[in-house]
């Protein structure tokens, strides 16, 4: 990427890069909505790492590109709309920036290069069986013993824990402190003895979630991030740029393209679905919503670009972006109609594409967007209190 091109030139550069370098099998899998195998994801990450494009939003000293906020958003969007796989945000958007900000030199030196190489995957251990949105009631505990902590308890809804090398997690280090006070932020090697990962099959037919059990798991003191009992502060600090990403503009555009393809290629009773008025009306409603979301995200990007604080109202991007993802997936399912009723849909007389075979699964998977990372209801509460003063 040239160092200081116009935003439009920059977009063109990203676009030609991804179009020429993204392996065809990965592009086709992403375009049609299939899961990308882990090793192919890692291969692509390595390729990006070689070009210094894996963690462009990190500070330059840790491999970042020194880009403006607008460039970062453009990069993300072009990657998405040209069918590059979604990045593991837990690894690249969460633990990376957290270590940059809160990690000590040893931790940064140890983990950031490994992550930036594209080889190391992380998972996030926040939720517990009795602490979902309400993290203050978590009960996994870490007790000091000698030169290490001993962790006992369990985490649940841990996305992709089955592939992760490391977990960052919240543990209770002071049982006597109230609510969020006695919680610490800790890094745990998933290969440590005493850890069991139980995959949880989703109704979409894929394993995304896991339950992770800790039975006297030993964690060295050096794996504590920040001060003991200050984990809550760290957990809350999703950095500003990452919050802009939650508008999911690129992901929405990718889904719009898929809905369009479904409508253009699928016929019902001899009529192309894209010619049905119900489809055109719903599609254009969603397209208008996406245009509005993108324009609205633009206001926040401009704020960040100008160096202003982003503000609590940024919650609206997550709220609307995640809902819109769901609406595109539903439209795609409805456009395909009975062709999406079976995962074996490819093997039909209509000769439908791969899109049909996983449309219902993707639709179910998308429901998680309004639950995870602060449900839509929580976002409403935040906006009501912090923005409208209610």
């Amino acid at each position: 990427m040239s160092s200081n091109p116009s935003l439009q030139e920059f977009r063109q550069q990203v676009r030609s890069f991804v179009r020429s370098k993204l392996p065809g099998d990965i592009r086709e899998a992403v375009r049609s909505g299939q899961p990308v195998p882990r090793e192919r994801s890692i291969a692509w990450n390595r390729l990006l790492a070689e070009e210094s494009l894996l963690v462009p939003h990190w500070p330059s000293q840790w491999g970042g590109g020194g880009w403006t906020v607008q460039q970062q958003m453009v990069f993300d969007e072009e990657m998405c709309t040209n069918d590059a796989p979604e990045q593991n945000s837990v690894t690249f958007d969460m633990i990376g920036p957290v270590l940059v900000r809160y990690g000590n030199d040893a931790q940064r030196g140890r983990f950031l290069p490994a992550i930036a190489s594209g080889e190391q995957w992380w998972c996030q251990g926040y939720s517990e069986p009795n602490a979902g949105s309400d993290l203050a009631s978590l009960s996994t505990r870490a007790e000091r013993r000698g030169d290490h902590y001993v962790v006992n308890g369990s985490k649940i809804w841990t996305s992709y824990a089955q592939y992760a090398d490391w977990m960052f997690c919240l543990v209770r280090t002071d049982a006597s402190a109230k609510a969020q006070q006695g919680i610490s932020f800790m890094l745990i090697d998933m290969k440590t003895p005493g850890i069991t990962v139980r995959p949880i099959l989703g109704i979409h037919g894929w394993v995304v979630f896991n339950e992770v059990f800790f039975d006297n798991v030993s964690v060295p003191f050096e794996n504590l991030v920040g001060e003991e009992n200050q984990g809550w502060t760290i957990a809350k600090s999703l950095l500003e740029f990452e919050r802009l990403k939650l508008a999911r503009i690129g992901e929405n555009k990718r889904r719009m393209a898929r809905a369009r393809e479904a409508g253009m290629t699928h016929c019902e009773a001899g009529v192309r679905v894209a010619n049905s008025s119900w489809f055109r009306q719903r599609f254009s409603e969603l397209e208008v919503r996406l245009m509005a979301l993108e324009a609205n995200a633009g206001r926040f990007i401009a704020r960040a670009q100008a160096g202003h604080p982003i503000g609590a109202d940024v919650s609206m991007l997550k709220m609307r972006g995640s809902q819109l993802i769901q609406l595109w997936e539903e439209l795609t399912v409805d456009a395909l109609g009975s062709a999406a009723l079976s995962h074996d849909a490819v093997d039909t007389a209509e000769g439908l594409s791969e899109i049909a075979a996983t449309a219902s699964s993707r639709r179910f998977l998308s429901r998680g967007y309004t639950i995870a990372g602060g449900s839509s209801e929580i976002q409403h509460n935040i906006l009501a209190k912090q923005v409208l003063g209610l």
């Binding site: 119900w278 409805d334 009975s338 995962h343 219902s360 309004t370």
Partner: protein, 383 residues
């Protein structure tokens, strides 16, 4: 559940179906049925027969129980409540009615006893899983030969097809602008079933026909007359499917309600949130309306046996449009209000979620059904 819309016998029927499901059809049976290649456990089907459900709506002269279509929908609703996987709607109702009403005596004598006692199962192979009002009838052709017909082609995907013993197939006749309706024995040469499970576990399949010899047709008619004749069975299937889906969403609602009353978050039950309460009320009311409309549609079906197809079709399409909308609303709320656990295969509500999502699509989406309603409202001359 007592309901003033039922008479005493109907209440007994509902109670006994509910007891059967609660005692005899748990998670283990459901998983076994889903794992079965046909999506249907033969021993369960036999039990349906023993309970009399497969002959409720058939005349006593045919070995049935002379009940109403509303009666059979009561059973359908209760089976839906238990997410029973067997194709009661696709296979246990309209196929049996069609045979009793359109077949000649010796065909009836050969088939009906087994269909009613549950030892055999027939299916409307011509009824697609998509918009039921658009029967794709060009894909099977029948050639008249000495001593009968030769059939060839492939049907579209039909629910309950795999594992059935008899298939009702619709074919375009080679010798003129007519259609033939045939009952094919599963044992006939040239028949291949390509089974296929829906994503919610229900069994379906396509029938491939290669020079299949059939001695008799159930019926041969010009296309409009044939579609007019079949309308009754299509509408009936849709209405029974609505009843079943109402049962499924009612139970999904109850599971969700119980969960929210129990589950604590931020120091109080989730259901203490006014926003959650109002959403539950909205869903509750929609389900009540969907049930009322589905039952009204069954009532209309009973009232206009044979005549006034317009009213029957309008109620069937309206009920399916309503049920599809509420089913979608219901499963999405079940997931959102449960949180992550609502998306897992292992927690009870997951199976309900999948069934409701599929039910919204089956036999025609909300959009397709609304088009039918609008056609009947605005183009009365054409209808």
């Amino acid at each position: 559940m007592s309901d003033s819309m039922f008479n005493e016998e109907q209440q007994m029927l509902a109670d006994s179906a509910r007891r059967y499901v609660e005692r005899g059809y748990g998670a283990a049976e459901l998983q076994a049925s889903i794992a079965h290649p046909a999506g249907c456990l033969p021993e369960k089907w036999k039990e349906f027969g023993e309970l009399g459900w497969l002959g409720i709506v058939l005349p006593e002269a045919d070995g049935g129980f002379g009940g109403s279509f509303s009666d059979v929908c009561i059973v359908s609703e209760e089976l839906g409540r238990g997410v029973v996987n067997e194709p009661f709607v696709a296979s246990g109702i309209a196929a049996n009615m069609l045979l009793a009403e359109l077949a000649v005596e010796d065909v009836k004598a050969k088939w009906l006893p087994g269909l009613i006692d549950g030892s055999r199962r027939a299916v409307l192979a011509f009824l697609p899983t998509g918009n039921a009002y658009r029967i794709p009838c060009a894909d099977v052709r029948a050639r008249t030969v000495e001593g009968g017909f030769i059939l060839g082609g492939e049907t579209s995907l039909a629910l309950g097809l795999a594992g059935a013993d008899g298939y009702m197939v619709l074919a375009r006749m080679d010798d003129g602008p007519k259609m033939g309706l045939f009952l094919l024995d599963a044992g006939l040469p040239g028949l291949t079933v390509r089974p296929c499970a829906l994503y919610d576990g229900q069994g379906a399949g396509r029938l491939r026909l290669e020079d299949v010899p059939v001695a008799h047709a159930l019926d041969v008619q010009a296309e409009p007359a044939m579609l007019e004749r079949l309308a009754r069975y299509i509408d009936g299937t849709i209405i029974a499917h609505c009843a079943q889906t109402v049962g499924t969403m009612q139970r999904a609602f109850e599971i969700t309600l119980d969960y929210l009353k129990t589950r604590q978050q931020f120091g109080k039950p989730i259901s203490a949130n006014q926003v959650v309460q109002h959403r539950l009320v909205d869903l509750f009311v929609e389900i009540e309306e969907a049930r009322a409309l589905s039952r009204a549609a069954a009532g209309i079906f009973d009232e206009c046996r044979g005549e006034d197809n317009g009213a029957r079709r309008k109620y069937a399409a309206a009920a399916k449009a309503c049920v599809a909308q509420v089913a979608k609303h219901c499963w999405k709320e079940a997931v959102q209000l449960h949180g992550a656990i609502g998306m897992t295969q292992e927690y009870v509500v997951g199976q309900y979620v999948k069934r409701l999502a599929a039910a919204a699509t089956l036999y025609g989406t909300e959009e397709a059904q609304l088009e039918t309603v609008a056609d009947l409202t605005f183009d009365t001359v054409r209808a």
